[in-house]
Amino acid sequence: MQQLAVEREYPEHSRKFRKKAALLSALAMGLGQIYNKQYTKGILLLAFYAYGIFTAITSLPHALWALATLGETETHLKKVGRLYKQVMGDHSIFLMIEGLITVFIMLVLIWMYIASIKDAYRTGKLREEGIQPNTFKQTLSFVAAYRFPHIVLAIPLLGVVFFTVMPIIFMILVAFTDFTRDTMPPAHLINWEGLQAFKELLRNSSWSHTFYSVTIWTFVWAFFATVTGYFGGFAAALLVQQKGIRFRAFWRTAFILPFAIPMFVSTLILRNIFNGQFGPVNQYLGMLGISKAPWLSDPLWAKITLILANFWLTFPVSMLMIIGILSTIPKDMYEAADIDGASGFQKTRLITFPMVMFSMAPLIIMQFVGNINNFNIVYLLTNGKPLNGDFQFAGHTDILITWLFKLSMEQGKYNYASVIGIFIFIVLSAFAIWNVRRTKAFKEEEAS
């Protein structure tokens, strides 16, 4: 009712402001603003509009052509007299990137265009209501006072778009091409191949066998790596924090040492320590009369060694975090349990464990996700070895990310590597989203 009353206060003829402003803005971005007497803003927008039209005419057709064909002229050598000359043709990869950037800029400009129409419409409506539109100066001071964080955030946002989103889109696009070392630009053109690489990896027997085996091992590895690291840390934390333990600080420092040494140094050392013939571990075992273990040369042993080494390098972090959580558990719970005659094991199982799990669950999931992508330790400790003749460019202990690395950096099969990249991306983002939701659920639980 209130609204009706307001509308009636203004004469009919003044109501066309908003329509006219919106129409003018639709005609050319900025005209509506000028019509609304916001001259500086209007001219600024008009300049963007001009730039947009210019880009659309000069670059967009080229960009669309580039994305659709990925280039048409091949680079080739031409012999002139005694000398060869390289006649440069199209470079598919650059064409793809440039095309993507142009399309991105166009999308942003179109978004701006729509926003400016909306803005003209709104300002027009304000004028109808008799409110003076903001001058440019007022707008600026308002922005500086109230919208400053948005402006500052816009810069990293741009970074995200151009350095994170763009490369991901580029990677996804590569999976649909025939980009390998044999079609390496500039000498060759890359072609769109559709789902060929996906089909090869998921259906073709030798590739799919590798893919599925490596995937299964990746998850098995991530599971055991996380669980051993976590429970190892838990056990160490319980022992260190136990009543009556002396030199607590000393134990804590001693246990944190493996973590304090840069991981790649310790990993490279471990690689020699576990050498089947010359490594100290087997030498000592030999002295004790125990037969030598093929730590890194037998597929199953290599996998176990990997998990053991990872346990050794990661349990200190879990231990430190769990020590922190243990100190937050109220003492009276244990006292009450003591009065009820609970054993030490019962106290751990029914009080300590649930309390720690409650805080640690999201972190464990993140550790699991991290272990799926734990390139360092696998690459440095075993480098995927022992070799496996049944696999395509992967060894027994290769996980997806190291296989991806080998395929792209060593074998130049960029399209297959991209398919694996997409797969890893999907798995990781699924876990990340799930984890964020869980965390939120926790917060609500605490609030209620």
Partner: protein, 429 residues
């Protein structure tokens, strides 16, 4: 109100965006400009057959930096007045770097590549053929080095050196023991081996298939036919290879280890501490192993039992001119200059490489030590590894096969399976 301000914020943001990448959409034009400049270069090359360096040329040179490369760059500057910046880029990384740095304009003009990387470089079109100095290069260098720098009949490289592997012998341990056949080595090792104390008569890095090939070739095995150039003729499972691999299996008797445990670290450690008598290793260690506190000699791989002498794999390092170079003429002159006969001799004296140049093994200025001469002998029994990209399938399938055979798998079946894998991968290309 908020919406309007949001719009303004967006404007600001866009201004950053456009300022940041305003040049991008137009860079396609810049490339066509580049092509036009190239076309201009063609015209001048046609007019004059004399190769003159471009005025104002300066070169970036990717190689493994050592005394020699610095010396050569300085000499070149003295002679031609062209500044050469030497950057440390390994021969096996240079191609990958050039494919990204070249188009960006920050790549090298002249770069070193090992012959196993040449196939990829040519496929990617990042190196120019050696056209102007072709005759000269062919006349001064060993045929194997020239062939290793050639793909599909076009010579690309300016060979610098060749490398291979052979037997380094610790004379203090071996003394006067006869090492003329593999049987001699086996006999010596059996006597000398003391596994408990990590003393070994003979050791090689078997987890690297590069070294294992030696045992395949003694009875007539090979990787690719027609002198390692025909990837459709695979010889890894022929009769000779099978026989050779059966012999390879018997070596476990004197090297009772898993191949993956005989790593380079371990082997080098044992060798340098004088616990390893015969060390099969590469010529790139000539410099290091020449300075050890015991007497070192190099002997070629001896004959197989009842067979011929094995042919070891060899490699070659050559310099190449980048196809992205702004000064291709100057780059060609430099590549030719640094690989001339005199420079190769100088390189041999300063760093101990095996020169690619022919007929200088007896040159008075070449290093005369027993290590160098051993390698010169071994070079006669060597075969360049293929520079074709198909070689990747050899490493991929034969690596595990050598491992399985060493661990006692059936030789014929394992080799057949690996050969089948190589064949199907090569056909599928």
């Amino acid at each position: 109100m908020a919406k309007k301000l949001g719009l303004l914020a967006l404007c600001m943001m866009l201004m950053f965006a456009l300022a940041a990448c305003g040049g991008k959409p137009g860079s396609g034009n810049a490339e066509t400009g580049n092509a036009a400049a190239n076309a201009g270069g063609e015209a001048t090359a046609e007019a004059t057959e004399e190769l003159t360096p471009e005025p104002g040329a300066q070169l970036t040179f990717w190689t493994i930096k050592d005394d020699f490369t610095n010396y050569a760059a300085a000499e070149f500057e003295k002679k031609y007045g062209i500044k050469v910046t030497v950057e440390d880029v390994a021969y096996w990384d240079s191609v990958a770097r050039l494919t990204t740095d070249g188009p960006a304009g920050t790549g090298a003009d002249v770069l070193g590549i090992n012959n196993d990387g040449l196939g990829g470089a040519v496929k990617a079109g990042v190196v120019l053929p050696n056209d102007y100095f072709e005759e000269e290069t062919k006349s001064i260098n060993r045929k194997m080095a020239v062939d290793a720098s050639t793909i599909d009949g076009i010579l690309y490289g300016y060979p610098r050196n060749v490398y291979t592997y052979s037997l380094y012998v610790n004379k203090d341990l071996v003394k006067d023991t006869k090492l003329d056949t593999w049987d001699d080595i086996i006999a010596f090792s059996k006597k000398y081996n003391d596994v408990k104390n990590n003393k070994y008569g003979f050791m090689f890095e078997g987890s690297n298939a590069f070294y294992d090939v030696a045992f395949m070739t003694g009875y007539g095995g090979y990787v690719f036919g027609s002198g390692e150039t025909d990837p459709h003729d695979i010889g890894v499972n022929n009769e000779g290879s099978v026989q050779g691999m059966k012999f390879f299996q018997t070596l476990r008797e004197i090297m009772p280890l898993k191949l993956s445990d005989a790593t380079r670290d371990v082997k080098t450690g044992l060798w340098e501490s004088g616990k390893l008598a015969i060390n099969m290793d590469g010529s790139w260690n000539i410099g290091n192993y020449g300075k050890l506190p015991f007497k070192v000699e190099v002997i070629p791989l001896p004959a197989m039992p009842g067979g011929k002498e094995p042919i070891v794999l060899a490699g070659n390092t050559s310099y190449y001119v980048s196809s992205y170079s702004k000064y291709p003429n100057a780059a060609k002159i430099f590549a030719s200059f640094i690989t001339s006969k005199e420079m190769q001799i100088k390189d041999n004296q300063m760093t101990g490489i095996i020169p690619a140049a022919e007929g200088i093994d007896n040159d008075p200025s070449i290093r005369k030590d027993a290590i160098m001469q051993g390698f010169f002998k071994q070079m006669k029994n060597s075969q360049m590894m293929s520079n074709r990209t198909e070689m990747e399938y050899f490493w991929n399938y034969m690596g595990p096969a050598f491992d399985d055979i060493w661990n006692g798998a059936d030789v014929k079946a394992t080799l057949d399976k690996a050969a089948e894998g190589m064949k199907s991968s090569i056909e599928a290309k």
